[in-house]
């Protein structure tokens, strides 16, 4: 099971469930499972987020693999100047 942490305002939209253990193997699957579990999160998941998997930040990377014991953080998307 991957340990998934929702940061920022995402936890509020998940009814305060900031940390979850989920059986997911890719970012796409993670987003789908989270959206099904917390429908209020769905539009924010579709809007674009950054996903950190074991410390490495991925953006717009649906197919990125999540290892079984991975530590995953969902964060606001990061831009720059």
């Amino acid at each position: 099971m991957a340990r998934v942490v929702l940061t920022g305002n995402l936890a509020k939209l998940a009814d305060g469930e900031a940390e979850l253990d989920l059986d997911v193997s890719s970012v796409r699957q993670l987003l789908r499972v989270l959206g099904d579990r917390h429908p209020r999160l769905k539009p924010h998941l579709e809007k674009g987020l950054a996903v950190a998997i074991n410390g490495t930040i991925y953006q717009e990377a649906w197919l990125e693999a999540i290892p079984p014991d991975g530590e995953v953080f969902l964060m606001p998307q990061i831009g720059g100047g």
């Binding site: 942490v5 809007k47 717009e60 990377a61 720059g80």
Partner: protein, 763 residues
């Protein structure tokens, strides 16, 4: 892949300082910037701008303007179709087209001095100016609000009737100027503050500052009768411009070809559109190409600065120097539409440190100012200025050297960042040690002088990126990237291509491709180009090498796996492969037509795994206590680059960030009158640093390789502007003996602080 740091291989081009390929054009004036493009039969485009800070547009009458001889088109809000307010994904960006359309051309209201209201295309500048004077706009002026704290008050003039605070708890039941509330939590700050032996809390304020690029916005657009469009413009991301403009004008994306000109600075401010959709709409209506160039006044009044903000910070620490809790509450000005960089501001605030307990809250606040745009490390300099100022004060309070205090709390590999995930290999501690060991840090100061230290963090990003590499018949290579070259990327990409191919740097000719020549490529921003386009360049080169080996194998009649590429030539992989004379790139390129056709490589990637950047700055200042002038005497930057592909350009980024930070900290601010109109829209009155204001900025390049890049590259373009504000504030405070909590620390404010200190009012 090539070795990350030369381990096992001598790097011939990576890490060296070759002459930049665009250098001759730049110094001889041949380089073509935005305003240098012209098309046959082009018209002159001009914009009518709001003379009010906030007003309802009751009506716009363009009939008289349209009758001016030479006027070919006039456009207003009626010429660009409205779109719903829901965010739309454009490439890697989420864009609210309802807001964007209203910023490009006002609809129901004007929301700031300089807001575009109408545009004209005419055969001459004189006719266009005359037409602008004849456009009759009936305004109903409204009360305005400029200050962030005033904008948040319940009785403030509300800019948008449909703006309800996102993230408010309980949900907002009436509109306000607070667009969003965000919150980040790590651990429990209440517990952390209980563990503290020293707790300090201060409030800080910063002013909006402009990116200050030398080249104003400029473009020329042509839309033909069959709906095909061409656009040349000064931009950090022509693919993004294409996607946004196509949607706004109602074109297929592929029907619009956008070419990025040479760019005279962007710093984030050219990641958005202002003139481009207007020029396209005017051209579509007039049936002629239209050229538009902003004046400096227009740049100041109508294009994005970065936010001003108020920030409250509270830090608790033990007397032996361990930070037990950090708390911050910050409100960022977004300008006329939501979208300040408060989110990254919150995430970066405590990121340089290894803390167990953090609580950060941020507010995105609209006001009657131009909509903010990105500015290097958007949001981070503001929040980190406040935190670095208080870090310094806590160090003073417990009697600890400011670098030792930071070293005791510095983030390192394995640290959970205050915003969540664990850091991989990072160089925060290395930058602190480099500064501590510097000759600068160990040089005594004179009277009225002060020394300040500040550290900083920025994420850096990757993203969608395409690169092509075409081998010519003579064995030279054309490298085409989709990221406009702002900081010397044509050189760094060529270095990586030359290193991979094993050919001379001079044999690689780099160009920036237009939007029809490559696949979608995200913009030059987020310190991503050397990382992302570099990664794509290496992959394209690897594809070329694979093909070169395959051609050699065909010539030698051996399997492709039995051929290796070394020092720019194909060789048999070992004795078992057979004995053949090596085939050089020139030889293989010359025979390419006979062995299967031209040799090319193409990489289309979404680069991931950007390495975060950390830096520490050291600055000495001298304060004239009679005039309040602050002179920057000496400045040293240490920053982790991962791997400096071209050290001169890395140093240039460090120096440029420091200089922009000096302006932000000491002088730059927008001056508005009581009428809400900007009073200093020019470089004479908006005081940016000039050469005589700054010393030579010394640099130390720290290299902790990013394991996710073939050469270990981290982005370096943004982190350098994060530490200066705090470092300079700390230096000034030490020089005058009193803490200052507002930027800019301009002479009147310094005089006031000095006077206050003399009267015993210092804290």
């Amino acid at each position: 892949m090539a070795p990350m740091d030369g381990g096992g291989h001598d790097l011939k081009w990576v890490g060296k300082r070759p002459v930049r390929p665009d250098g001759v054009d730049k110094v001889t004036g041949r380089a073509r910037f935005g305003a240098d493009y012209n098309m046959a039969g082009q018209l002159v485009g001009r914009v009518l701008r709001s003379p009010h800070a906030h007003a309802v547009i009751k009506s716009i009458d363009t009939s008289a303007a349209e009758k001016v001889p030479g006027v070919k088109a006039v456009i207003t809000r009626d010429d660009i179709p409205d779109q719903p307010p829901e965010p739309v994904t454009v490439g890697e960006m989420s864009v609210n087209f309802s807001d964007l359309i209203r910023n490009v051309l006002a609809r129901e209201k004007v929301l700031y001095d300089g807001h575009a209201v109408a545009a004209v295309a005419a055969t001459s500048a004189k006719a266009a100016r005359e037409a602008l004077k004849l456009i009759k706009v009936d305004y109903q002026p409204l009360p305005h609000v400029l200050d962030v704290e005033e904008a948040m008050r319940p009785d403030a003039p509300v800019l948008h009737d449909n703006l309800f605070t996102e993230g408010a708890d309980p949900p907002a039941d009436k509109p306000s100027n607070i667009a969003k509330r965000i919150e980040f939590t790590l651990g429990d700050v209440a517990v952390g503050f209980e563990q503290a032996e020293v707790v300090l809390e201060r409030s800080y304020k910063t002013e909006p500052v402009h990116q200050g690029y030398i080249e104003p916005h400029a473009c020329v657009a042509s839309v033909t009768e069959d709906g095909q469009g061409e656009l040349w413009c000064s931009t950090q991301g022509h693919f993004v411009v294409r996607a946004i403009c196509a949607r706004m004008i109602g074109m297929d994306i592929s029907a619009l070809r956008v070419t990025a000109s040479e760019i005279g600075g962007g710093f984030g401010g050219k990641t958005v559109v202002y003139l481009e959709p207007l020029a396209l709409a005017l051209s579509k209506k007039a049936g002629h190409p239209v050229k538009m160039v902003m004046t400096r006044s227009e740049v100041f009044r109508a294009t994005g600065p970065t936010s001003g903000a108020t920030i409250r910070v509270k830090i608790g620490a033990t007397k032996d120097g361990r930070i037990t809790a950090g708390e911050a509450e910050m409100a960022y000005l977004a300008g006329a539409f939501p979208g300040s960089p408060v989110n990254p501001g919150c995430m970066c605030a405590f990121a340089p440190y290894d803390l167990e307990n953090v609580w950060v809250v941020g507010y995105d606040v609209v006001s009657n100012r131009p909509k903010v745009a990105a500015y290097r490390a958007p949001g981070a300099p503001i929040s980190e200025y406040a935190v670095e100022s208080l870090i310094d004060e806590v160090a003073d309070e417990i009697g600890m050297d400011p670098i030792d205090f930071r070293l005791k709390n510095a983030a390192k590999q394995g640290t959970h960042a205050a915003y969540g995930p664990k850091f991989g290999p990072i160089g925060m501690i290395d930058t602190l040690k480099a500064i501590k060991e510097s000759e600068h840090y160990n040089t005594p100061l004179g009277p009225n002088q002060g020394r300040g230290v500040g550290s900083g963090f920025w994420f850096n990003i990757g993203g969608e990126t395409c690169v092509s590499l075409n081998i010519s018949e003579d064995g030279t290579a054309t490298l085409m990237a989709g990221t406009p070259d702002i900081g010397g990327s044509r050189a760094t990409l060529s270095q990586m291509a030359a290193e991979e191919l094993g050919i001379d740097y001079d044999k690689v000719r780099p160009i920036i491709g237009d939007t029809s020549s490559l696949g979608y490529t995200f913009l030059t921003g987020g310190s991503r180009v050397t990382f992302s386009s570099g990664m794509a360049t290496v992959q394209a080169a690897q594809e070329v090498i694979k093909e070169l080996c395959a051609r050699a194998a065909k010539i030698w009649d051996i399997p492709a796996e039995a051929v290796t590429w070394e020092d720019g030539e194909a060789r048999p992989a070992g004795d078992n492969a057979g004995k053949f004379d090596p085939l050089s790139l020139e030889e293989l390129a010359a025979s390419a037509g006979k062995t299967g056709g031209p040799i090319t490589g193409y990489a289309s990637i979404n680069a991931q795994g950007a390495g975060p950047g950390f830096g520490t700055h050291l600055v000495d200042v001298e304060v004239d206590k009679e005039t309040g002038r602050v002179t920057v005497l000496r400045y040293t930057v240490a920053q982790d680059a991962g791997k400096a592909i071209h050290p001169s350009y890395v140093e240039g980024q460090y120096q440029g960030g420091a200089v922009q930070g000096i302006g932000w900290a000491l002088n730059e601010e927008y001056i508005y009158g009581d009428d809400g109109l900007m009073q200093n829209p020019g470089f004479l009155d908006y005081r940016m640093p000039v050469a005589s204001d700054v010393p030579m900025v010394d640099t130390v390049i720290v290299e902790v390789p990013n394991p996710n890049h073939p050469y270990g590259v981290r982005g370096v373009g943004e982190t350098p502007i994060v530490p200066p504000l705090g470092a300079i504030a700390n230096a000034v405070s030490h020089a005058v003996g009193v803490r200052m909590h507002e930027l800019p620390m301009s002479p009147p404010k310094v005089l006031e602080a000095v006077g206050g200190a003399a009267n015993g009012a210092g804290d």
